[in-house]
């Protein structure tokens, strides 16, 4: 009954003031217009004023208006005028006014309550819709939980969500000042019972997806408001449960993939170490022992040849180790970079110089601009990156190949390109040339490296804010070109 009387429309003092104003206006109008013309219609006029109050302001202001109307009518218009006298028929007028106020005001109140409810339901539906939309794209259980809490907060309550992690509830999201401790859920073992429990003080709802208990949500009403509709909460938590479950699956799959990748890398590394480090070692050991054993039987040319083999293979081992070390440092983030403004032409020249011996029979062409933008790099590491690219080219081309080393300024960047006229890179291999331990077409030729050089180069170039790509065929249907792009930092000022 009180609920019906009170309705959901809150009482506002302003409405009572309006009610009073309506009656004052009615009295004035009655006094100057109605009284002189049709005095017998005065009660009707006041009744109309009460009905208007009820229609505009709701029930309680209307009742207030009814009482004021009765008093005004009695005081100003009824003989003896300017006195308050109560007789039986006056009480009848009061009753009539009150009935009008109650009926019209109550109806209006209920209508506006209804509209209000509709509005709130719409708002709740919108909240639910928005939350579901966000949840559908969430890939992380914690942010899903946080999203649900935000949604519940928007619907006028405090909430906290515990997710089942390793069979135990762990608090993952909570509103500010939510009494999470007194819920007593933290670190409890997750139950199989997923039934909800909603009381006036709080609601305990389970998040379950596919029959599995994913977590638990506790919802507290804020101040005097009631908890949101149970079905609404259920709908929200159901979509949250699905989202959280899915996010968890995605994470599990990603973890599994990382483990598999690591496993694959380890296998590749082991095979690389056993094969590629042992091959040069075998040559060194065989040459050295041959020299020890048969020194006097070898002519000087053979002796020199064996000794050169020892030198070549040792240098190769050294390069492998340098790249292994660089890769390890790149991956562990321990790479120490001392960056300076560097002339890229100098780096290319230095890299070519370092590979002089291996390039001896190849035709090397340099194409450097007369003026060149500088790059901000660690010159030692850029040289290493270039050596790897050139070495890769040497390993994949014939002895008489032509190698073009070019430096050019390209719109805010400096491009370092190494191009050959060899057989190029197979289209299927092209996307993988920078992968660790990748060797094109099962290439296990001598000197083809451990498949680290280009991966290291990419790592280094990216550490300098640049990029690298492989293009094949480079021109006229054959050859390969590697392009390293680095951010340009202005031309070296050479004036005094």
């Amino acid at each position: 009954m009180t609920q019906w009387l009170r309705g959901e429309t809150p009482l506002r003092w302003r409405d009572f003031a309006y009610a009073a104003l309506i009656i004052v206006l009615a009295s004035t109008f009655g006094f100057y217009v109605v009284l002189p013309l049709w005095p017998s219609k005065l009660p009707l006029m006041f009744f109309a004023a009460v009905l208007i109050s009820g229609y505009r302001l709701g029930m309680w202001p209307a009742i207030f208006a009814a009482i004021l109307a009765f008093l005004s009518f009695n005081f100003f218009f009824e003989e003896p005028r300017f006195t308050l006298t109560f007789e039986a028929e006056d009480l009848f007028a009061l009753a009539t006014f009150l009935v009008g106020a109650l009926l019209v005001g109550g109806l209006t109140g209920r209508l506006s309550d209804h509209a209000r409810q509709l509005k709130r339901a719409l708002a709740a539906t919108t909240l639910l819709f928005e939350a579901s939309r966000d949840l559908a794209t969430t890939v992380d259980p914690k942010s899903a939980a946080e999203r649900v809490v935000t949604c519940l907060e928007a619907n006028g309550c405090r909430a906290a969500i515990w997710l089942v992690e390793n069979g135990v509830y762990a608090l993952r999201a909570a509103s500010a000042r939510a009494p999470t401790a007194e819920a007593g859920i933290d670190a409890q073992e997750a139950s199989h019972d997923t039934s909800d429990e909603i009381t006036g003080e709080r609601g305990v709802l389970h998040l379950a997806s596919g029959g599995r208990n994913v977590g638990i949500a506790v919802v507290w009403p804020r101040r005097k408001t009631a908890l949101p509709d149970a079905r609404w909460m259920r709908a929200l938590l159901d979509s949250a449960a699905v989202a959280i479950d899915r996010a968890r699956l995605i994470a599990e799959i990603a973890d599994a993939r990382i483990v598999a990748e690591k496993e694959g890398l380890r296998t590749a590394l082991l095979s690389s170490l056993s094969h590629d480090l042992r091959t040069p070692l075998s040559t060194i050991l065989a040459s050295a022992t041959s020299l020890l054993e048969y020194d006097e039987k070898f002519d000087s040319a053979t002796r020199r040849d064996l000794l050169s083999a020892i030198q070549d293979e040792s240098e190769r081992l050294n390069r492998y180790l340098a790249n292994l070390l660089e890769m390890t440092r790149l991956e562990s983030g321990a790479l120490q970079v001392n960056r300076y403004l560097t002339d890229p032409r100098e780096s290319v020249s230095a890299a070519l110089r370092r590979l002089q011996r291996r390039l001896a029979r190849r035709q090397v062409v340099r194409e450097f601009p007369a003026e060149c933008e500088q790059v901000n790099v660690d010159p030692v590491l850029l040289e290493q990156a270039l050596v790897n690219v050139i070495e890769n080219t040497v390993a994949h081309t014939a002895d008489d190949a032509r190698i073009l080393a070019r430096v050019e300024n390209v719109a805010g960047r400096v491009r370092l390109a190494v191009e050959d006229d060899g057989k190029g890179i197979a289209p299927a291999d092209l996307p993988h040339v920078f992968d660790k331990f990748f060797r094109g077409g099962g290439d296990r030729r001598r000197g083809s490296g451990i498949g680290l050089g280009l991966a290291v180069t990419r790592g280094l170039v990216e550490a300098f804010g640049g990029g690298i790509r492989a293009i094949s065929p480079a021109r006229d249907g054959h050859g390969a070109r590697f392009e390293i792009d680095l951010p340009a930092h202005g031309i070296l000022e050479t004036s005094e």
Binding site: T342, E346, S349, R366, V380
Partner: protein, 228 residues
């Protein structure tokens, strides 16, 4: 070859390295002394007065830099440092502490011997030489004249100072810091200046400035004037 045989001391705790270096140095005409750790090296240097020291930075008992520091308190004997490739900062620190040059491990014997030769030559030339000549480059220190392939080259004062410093250490590395000190006498600390002026210098004296063969870059460390 100098009339008295130069004595080179190897300070390294790794026997195989010493085993290989010793006969090579002897074959190149040097007398060889050895020390297995820093303490022994410090004691031996005083007794044997070597003409050059080949010092491994990774010694078992003390840091190679401490050895350099201790030696530099009383002797200017050339010190050539052996260090791992990746220890770039350590290398710079060693050079700044007073080492004369470095060789990265693993190295070619020929490379090490070239450094030893350059160090010994530098030691001799420090007092007497009035000019430099090598690889077609000629410098008259007294007249401050430079010529490449017989043709005179006009250099600014700073360019000359840089080239002169490099020439006095021909075949040896000269760090950015040393070059700054030589040409700017402490007024400038940004090594970028050195790079700019070396660039200009190369334009004037190199046959192909983009592929220099006189002033070689030691990436991240400094420059080296190529010796014959």
């Amino acid at each position: 070859m100098s009339p008295t045989t130069a004595r080179v001391m190897i300070v390294d705790d790794e026997a195989p390295i010493v085993r290989v270096l010793k006969p090579s140095l002897v074959a190149a005409g040097y007398e060889v002394a050895e020390a297995g750790d820093g303490r022994e090296a410090l004691a031996q240097v005083a007794q044997q007065t070597p003409d050059a020291i080949v010092l491994d930075l990774g010694l078992p008992d003390m840091d190679g830099k401490e050895v350099i520091q201790a030696l530099r308190k009383w002797t200017q004997v050339p010190i050539i440092v052996l260090s791992a490739r990746e220890a770039e900062n350590e290398r710079i620190a060693a050079l700044d502490t007073g080492a004369d040059d470095y060789v990265v491990k693993p190295f070619h014997t020929g490379e090490l011997l070239a450094r030893v030769r350059a160090a010994l030559r530098h030691r001799q030339s420090r007092t007497e030489s009035t000019g430099y000549s090598g690889k077609g480059l000629e410098i008259d220190f007294e007249l401050r004249r430079v010529a490449v392939g017989g043709r005179g080259v006009r250099l600014t004062r700073k360019e000359y100072d840089l080239l002169c410093t490099l020439a006095r250490h021909a075949g040896q590395v000269v760090t950015h810091k040393q070059l700054l000190a030589a040409a700017w006498r402490g007024t400038v600390t940004d090594t970028q200046f050195v790079r700019v002026y070396i660039g200009q210098l190369r334009q004037k004296i190199e046959r192909d400035p983009s592929n220099p063969d006189l002033i070689l870059t030691e990436a991240g460390i400094g420059y080296r004037l190529a010796a014959d």
